[in-house]
Amino acid sequence: MKVAVKLFAAARELAGETELAVELPDGADVAQLRASLAAKSPQLKPIADRSLIAVNSEYADQATVIRAGDEIALIPPVSGG
């Protein structure tokens, strides 16, 4: 399945895109998504390694399973306030 990963702040600027399309096997989890993202976009590594992943607007852990149609985002260290 193909999923789109939303990018923000420095991650968006490093990638030069607001979203990255990543190909994942069915039943893939967040750990596999991270590996695919790193392979697809190595320039994101300094930020991606410190980022969290959100699935459907909730922080996910490494074992969270991704389904086709899920809304996925890379959340770099936040600095609101």
């Binding site: 939303k6 923000f8 702040a9 420095a10 600027e13 300094p46 930020i47 410190r50 959100a54 607007s57 909730e58 922080y59 985002a73 959340i75 770099p76 260290p77 936040v78 600095s79 609101g80 306030g81």
Partner: protein
């Protein structure tokens, strides 16, 4: 009440809605754009959010604060886009029957927002450079003290 806005935050309106007959204490916290971070001078900050998720995270914070403390009103408003020097980027307003709850809830809300809300600030420095603030990442460590 939680809100993201690209306009200046209407602080008097937030205070008015918190000042209710059931409340004996109204507390306001504003986070504002500071000119100096260490020895670097800022001209403005720009904020970006993952808006749908930020609203959900702020709603969770409000719900948790209302669960922990007896609050009459609880408002969290974050401004996005460019915020000039001295402008407010965030407002937290809580009211409660007694002041202890208002102080505790206000402190907890702003601290938690800074940890969990998917919102990012970009420093615009007087030397013309811009820099996203991502605490803990090497290239942005200079701006960590937000």
């Amino acid at each position: 009440m939680v809100q993201l806005t690209y306009e200046p935050i209407d602080v008097p309106q937030l205070l008015a809605r918190a000042q209710q007959p059931e409340a004996g204490a109204v507390l306001l916290f504003l986070g504002t754009t500071r000119r100096f971070t260490a020895d670097r001078e800022t001209t403005a900050l720009r904020y970006e959010a993952y808006e749908e998720m930020a609203v959900r995270e702020l709603e969770k914070l409000e719900a948790e604060a209302r669960r922990r403390w007896s609050l009459v009103e609880c408002a969290i408003v974050h401004r996005l886009g460019r915020v000039p020097l001295a402008g407010a980027s965030v407002a937290v307003v809580v009211s409660s029957p007694h002041r202890d709850a208002a102080f505790a809830a206000g402190r907890w809300l702003i601290d938690s927002l800074k940890e969990t809300a998917p919102i990012w600030k970009q420093e615009h420095w007087t030397d013309g450079t811009v820099e996203w603030v991502h605490p803990g990442t090497a290239q942005h460590s200079k701006a960590d003290q937000s």
